[in-house]
Structure formats: C-alpha cells, structure tokens
C-alpha cells in the first residue's frame, strides 16, 4: 500500500501557546485514521493543518503529490498554488456542517466543481447527483440547508466534499453537533466510504466507532502525538500511561 499522507516534524503555535509539537505520522491509501484526545489537545488544529486552513509553522505536510513545507516561517514562492492544489485533493467536513445556506443541497455540491474545476453545470450536476444519492439525499437535492435535519445537512456536506473527487477526506467531529439518533446515519456513510477504499482522517469522540472502523488511532495530548496504533492494540494494551489514563473510561 502506498503512503498518501505524510506529516513530518509538524509544529504549530498560536500567539500564546504551542498547539502542536513536532508531530510525525503517515497515512496509507484507503486507511481510516481516527484522531482522539482530550479537549484542547490540538486535534482540530492538526486536521486543519492538513488542508492549510491553519498554517503550519514548521515541518512539512505531503498529501499525494503536493507538499506543503515551511521552515522558520519561510515558504517556497509557489506556496499559494501548492495550497490550492492540495485543497482540491482534500475534502473537509466540519462539525457545524458549514453548508452554504443560500444554495440548495445540489447547488452546494456543484459550486466548487464549477468554480474551481470549471466543470459544465450538467456534468457537475450529474456527478453531484451520484454522491447525493449515495448519502441518501436523492429526494432532498433541491432542499435548502435550513429545510434539512442536522444529519441530512452533514450528509449533504459530505456529498459536497465528495463531488470534488478528493483523494483524502478529513472530518472534524462530524457527529458532535448531531442528536444521538442522527449520529448513525453519518457514521455509516464513513463506513461505506471506507469499504470503497477512500482515505479518511477523522477527529472523533465516538470511541465505539473509532474502535470498530478505524485502521489506526492517533492519540494526541497537549499538542503531542502520544501514541499511534491499531484500535485493538490501543484499547487493550496501550503503551503509554497517558493513553491508558485517557482510555480508562472506555476500556
């Protein structure tokens, strides 16, 4: 299996604090990686560094052919182009969905392909329909976000990301804003994508999901990557005390 994401010595600090400290990990093609850790440990920051919504200070992020590299705040002159190229290959799903409220589910999905990839409307719609049907919104395509339930909105957001044909999908707590009853419908889509061979990185508090579906789990604490291991290993025999402490409620 080929490596699709590799993060090397990634550091990121905000004005007052170090949010990520020399993070290293790789993701293989078709893997599903779960990132877990206590609140404020830097999970979101790490995920956002992967698609440049947060700019790393140090180190490099390589996704597919695109490399984002910065050292001492210096960056290559074509950094902007690289950033956009990277974002086109990486889909992102947010905790609060962030659907465009003035557009229907279908329009949400075709906007970026048309604007960024200069796709014809018909072509984009055809593609978007496939994904909207895949996430079970075949009969809700012309609904506005405000006319959809939370679960439906999140599924629409996933379809929107998929319509750009990303190589990697990133999720930041995709089910945290959902009623418990709606969590399942979103998780099952991620499960399905996993089965189809999509590479996915998921920040989540859904330990059961992480344990069942993830190929590997990354545990972060205070900006440090403490442990990275397959779920069974991590849940049954954590190597680090901090991991054990964090997981003791779930064991």
């Amino acid at each position: 299996m080929a490596t699709i994401i590799s993060v090397t010595d990634l550091s990121k600090s905000f004005s007052d604090s170090l949010a990520l400290n020399r993070i290293n990990f790789t993701v293989e093609k078709a893997e599903l990686i779960a990132i877990i850790g206590p609140s404020g440990c830097g999970k979101s920051t790490l995920l956002r560094c992967l698609n440049g919504l947060e700019l790393l200070d140090e180190g490099s992020v390589q996704i597919g052919d695109v490399n984002l590299e910065r050292h001492h705040g210096e960056q290559p002159p074509d950094f902007q182009q690289r950033l956009r190229a990277l974002r086109e290959e990486v889909g992102m799903v947010f905790q609060s969905f962030n659907l465009f409220p003035h557009l229907t589910a279908l329009e949400n999905a075709i906007k970026a392909p048309m604007v960024v990839r200069k796709m014809k409307r018909a072509e984009a719609e055809e593609k978007a329909r496939v994904y909207l049907e895949k996430v079970g919104l075949g009969n809700r395509m012309h609904h506005y976000p405000s006319q959809l339930s939370g679960g439906q909105q999140q599924r629409a957001a996933i379809a929107r990301a998929l319509t750009m044909s990303p190589k990697v999908m990133l999720y930041d707590e995709p089910t945290s804003a959902l009623d418990p009853g709606l969590v399942g419908e979103v998780l099952s889509i991620m499960r399905q994508l996993d089965d189809e061979g999509m590479t996915q990185v998921v920040v989540t508090h859904e330990m059961r999901f992480a344990r069942e579906v993830a190929d590997r789990i990354i545990f972060l604490q205070q900006g440090e990557l403490v442990e990275s291991a397959p779920p069974e290993e991590l849940f049954t025999a954590p190597r680090d005390d901090r991991t054990r402490e964090f997981l003791k409620d779930f064991l």
Binding site: L55, R87, F94, P101, K111, V115
Partner: protein
C-alpha cells in the same frame, strides 16, 4: 483512475492560468488579496454582467444629451423660481415661462438670429453656471457690480431701477436702512440688496433663495423688513394687502446681461442688439407691458442711444396687461373647487416633468452607490494596507461632510480642473458617491456577519479567497443588506431633491416653480410630498418581497432589532 487524472490535468491548467493573473501572499495564516484588480473582479461578477449592460445603457443615456448643443442656440441661464416680473411660470399653464426678460431674450434672439433656450439655474449660482459654460448668457435681474465685473463681462445696462424697503402693513418707524439698526431684515441671497444690508451695519441680515420666500418670512413676522429692487416690490408688495412700501426708494441699480469674459464677439452683438431695441422703442414697450417703465430707465436710454421714443410702434393697446393679469392671480382668493382644479392641472407637470427625473437620478445614483460601495467594503475588508486606509478615509470624509457641499464641489469645483459634468451626470455621481460611503458600511456589516465557517468551507473546497467571496460570502451578504440598502434608497430618493441646486429640474424644482406661480406653497407642497411618498412605496414593497424570496434561511427568526420593544 483514468478520468481522475484527466480532471486533474484540467484543473492544473486552470490553476496555471489563474497564477499569472493574481498575486497572493500569505500573512499570519490569513490570505491577503494584494491586488485592487482582484477586488474589482469580485465586485462586478455577482452582477453577472447584466450590471455592465445597465451601466452602459445608462451612461449613454446620461452623456448623449450634452453632446447636442446647436451652434445657433442662445442658451440663457435664469431662475424661474425667482418670480415676477423677471421670469416665472404662467399661472394657468406652468409649462410656459413668461416675464419681461422672456420678452427681452426673444427680441434679442431675433436680433442675433439665434434661438433662445432657457436653462434653469439657481439664482445665486448664475455666475458660476455661466463660467462653467452651462449657458451663453446670464440674465435674471443681475445687478452690475464691480465684484461681478471682475469675473464676467456685462453688456450695457438694459434696465435701471432702485432699491425699495418693504414692511408689514401698518408698521411705522421704518423708513430707511438707518431705522433698521438692531432689527432683522431679509434680502435675496447675493443680491445687491443683500450687500447693502450687510454694509449698513447693525442689522441682522437673513438671506433667501427666492424673493417670494423672503416676503413670506416678512409676512410671518420673522423679518422686520425686506429690501428688494423696485420691480419686485411692485409685483409682490404693492398688490399684497399684508405688506407696504417703507420710505423712499434709494440706491440706483443697473441690470446687465452677463457674458463670459472670452465671449467678446457675443458681448458686442448683444450691445448692438440692445441699442437697436432701445432705439426702436420695443424695449420700452416691453417694460410698459410689465408696468416697470420708470424715469431712471428713461434717463438710461437717453444716455445710451439719445432722443427718447415716447410712442413706441410696438406698444400694445392695453399697455400694462401683463401686470394686471399677475395681480389678479395674486390677490384673488381661489375657492376650494378652483384650487383642486388647479392642482389637478399641475399633476401632469409634476408627474411627467418632475417625477421621471427624480426617479432617474435616484435609480442611477443608487446603482452607482451600490457598485462603488461594494468595492469600498471589499477593499476595506480584504485589500492591502494602503487601499484599506484609502477606502476608510473616503468613507469617513464623505460621511462627515454635507452632501450639498459635495455637489457644489463636483458641479462648480471640478470644471476648474478640467472635469465638466452635465447636471445629470453630476447629480448621479454626487448622490452615488455620497451614498456609496453608507452602502460600504452596510456591506461591511453584512459580510462580517457571515460566519467564519462559510469562508473556511469555501476555501477547503479549493476556491481562492476571491472566488469564495464572489460565490459564497457576497451573495449571502447581499441578501442580508437588503433592508438597510432599501432604507438608504428611500433616503436617497428624497435627498435627490437637493440636486435642484445644480440646476436639475426634478420634482422639488418643479414644485418650486409651481408654488411661485400662484404663490401657493402649502397646497402644492402637500401635493408634491404625496407624489414622493407614492413613488417611494413600490420600492419598499419590492424590497420586502425580495427580502422574503431571497431569505437565506427560512427558519431564521425575525431579528431582534426589527421587533418593536420586544413585541413583534
């Protein structure tokens, strides 16, 4: 795998194309758009080019009339609101202008073989209007004074008169300027009478845009006396039982026709024509018809052309007909039926001459305001430092200075640096640029109220910052700002009345003309106000409808500020 690679190639190609056009740089994790061009592009694209079309059409509309000034026109600048007996609307047909100066200019046109065209211009702006070339001659009771002679040329005097004081009927003890010490007196703004009152010292001087409003204030008791030239007094004081002459006339006054200093040939032609009209007795005939022939003018004519012509060939049988017609109108108290019929007859005038111009100015002005406002707002939010500073200053300066002054600067100031706008363009540009500052603040508030997540979602889909603005942020912000922008449109619509100061004849100016014709400010005023109100209504309705249709979130509750003390 195959299709995806193709797609990527395509994407790469578009990326490379884009690369050459926009230069972007990174700073503290935030993209900063470093090119004003880019902002321009974003601003204009939401309008999907139909906007360009509108601008194109409207600019053609604006510019074309100014290009057709026939050489044999004799453009004559005067203020029809100034009143009788100079130039004023014919009471029973407000479209027609009458007055002794109308008769005079027609006679001059015949002598010069040029067709006189009336150009409406605020009286106190007649000289600036002449200098900026709005018309060939300024003739509207302009007194020949050394100050004016420094900036324009005058023909030989065409009329001589004197200054006359007027007071409320029954007033005693005011017979001269000396009696006015410590009292309040009024005059037409920048007229000789104004200067005389100022020079006398110790008098509180009030000035007016029109003679009629000055006399109104005298009647209402806000003035103790009014100073004016005799013809005005004969027309507005003499027939009015509430007013009377005070003391003897004093201070000789000569009226001349104003001509630009470079128009020497025209000046000579006018002088010749005036002499001809004096010699033939035609000019005297005109003055007699208007009941303003006097000893001073007779002496003036003798000085200028020699022996008097006591019986002019063209003198009408009933020599003071025009004056009697006028006094009948002024003194006659109309019944309500007559009044209503009169208002009814004014309607077409207000609706077809005034209202369309008001609408045109307001709509074009608002288009300018919205377009420029969006550029300003985006520059303000996303532009590079110097441009941010520039747009910020623009907004603050425009909001902090009076619209009236801005209009004056654009209309009378810009020609001195070579930019001469037609009144319509100046009005649209003036109102548009003024309101742009307010629209910019509306847009800024709208854009800032769009949640951060929207921009992040757009960026994460691979859009550039500019694309995100254009396709995601601005469309949402535009919907949000519909209510405040509508408010501003209504305000602009009413503010458009101010452009009468730069010679536009729109609803308010037409109101002024009609009101002076019958000396009826209240009735015509209410009628005009009602027309403003009714014209504004459809836009309010349209905005409500658009707001509902475009609402981004059907489930959003009514914003708190729209509730009335918490009660919806």
């Amino acid at each position: 795998m195959e299709p995806r690679r193709l797609e990527n190639q395509k994407a790469n190609r578009t990326r490379q194309k884009a690369k050459g056009r926009h230069f972007l740089f990174f700073k503290e994790g935030k993209e900063k758009v470093s090119s004003a061009l880019l902002i321009f592009e974003i601003c204009l694209l939401p309008f999907d080019f139909s906007f360009f079309f509108v601008l194109l059409v409207s600019s053609w509309f604006i510019f074309s009339p100014s290009l057709t000034v026939a050489a044999d026109d004799l453009r004559w600048g005067a203020d029809s609101e100034g009143g009788a007996p100079f130039v004023f609307s014919k009471p029973d047909n407000p479209r027609e202008l009458i007055g002794f100066e109308v008769d005079l200019v027609n006679a001059l046109g015949r002598e010069l073989n040029r067709r006189p065209t009336f150009v409406q211009n605020q009286w106190d702006g007649l000289i600036p209007g002449l200098q900026r070339g709005n018309y060939h001659i300024a003739m509207n009771g302009l007194e020949i004074t050394p100050e004016r002679q420094r900036v324009i040329n005058f023909t030989i005097p065409y009329y001589a008169t004197v200054e006359q004081l007027a007071v409320r009927a029954g007033t005693t003890g005011i017979n001269s300027l000396a009696d006015l010490k410590g009292k309040v007196a009024g005059a037409l703004k920048f007229s000789l009478a104004h200067t005389l009152l100022e020079k006398a010292g110790g008098i509180e001087v009030r000035t007016y845009d029109s003679q009629v409003s000055c006399l109104d204030d005298l009647i209402f008791g806000r003035l103790d006396a009014a100073l004016m030239e005799l013809p005005v007094a004969v027309y507005y004081v003499k027939p009015n039982p509430k007013l009377q002459f005070a003391g003897e006339p004093f201070e000789p006054v000569l009226y001349g026709i104003g001509v630009r200093q470079q128009d020497q040939a025209l000046l000579a032609q006018l002088n010749d024509a005036l002499r001809t009209l004096m010699k033939s007795g035609e000019l005297r005939g005109i003055y007699e018809k208007w009941n303003i022939w006097n000893k001073d003018t007779e002496k003036l004519f003798v000085e200028l052309v020699g022996a008097p012509q006591s019986t002019p060939a063209t003198s009408p049988a009933n020599s003071t007909q025009a004056y009697e017609d006028f006094t009948k109108v002024i003194t006659n108290k109309p019944t309500w039926g007559e009044r209503l019929r009169r208002y009814w007859s004014y309607l077409p005038f207000l609706l077809f001459q005034g209202a369309p111009m008001t609408l045109l100015i307001s709509i074009l002005g608002m288009i300018v305001a919205m377009a420029v406002g969006l550029v300003l707002a985006l520059t303000n939010l996303y532009g590079p430092r110097p441009l941010v500073w520039l747009s910020r200053s623009y907004i603050e300066v425009i909001r902090g200075t009076p619209l009236l002054i801005q209009l004056y600067l654009i209309f009378y100031g810009l020609p001195s640096v070579g930019i001469k706008l037609t009144p319509l363009v100046a009005a649209v540009v003036g109102l548009g640029l003024n309101y742009a500052a307010y629209e910019a603040e509306n847009y800024r508030a709208g854009i800032q109220s769009i949640p951060r997540g929207q921009m992040e979602a757009a960026l994460s889909l691979g859009m550039t910052r500019a694309q995100s603005l254009r396709h995601v942020i601005v469309p949402q912000a535009l919907r949000l700002v519909i209510p405040p922008v509508t408010n501003d449109f209504i305000a602009l619509f009413k503010d458009s009345s101010i452009v009468s100061v730069i010679t536009m004849v729109e609803l308010t100016k037409v109101y002024g003309q009609l009101a002076t014709a019958y000396y009826d400010y209240i009735g015509v005023g209410i009628l005009t106000a009602a027309i403003y109100f009714l014209l504004g209504l459809p836009f309010v309705k349209l905005a409500r409808y658009a707001e509902k249709r475009l609402a981004t979130d059907q489930r959003t509750p009514v914003p708190a500020k729209r509730r009335w003390f918490g009660v919806k």
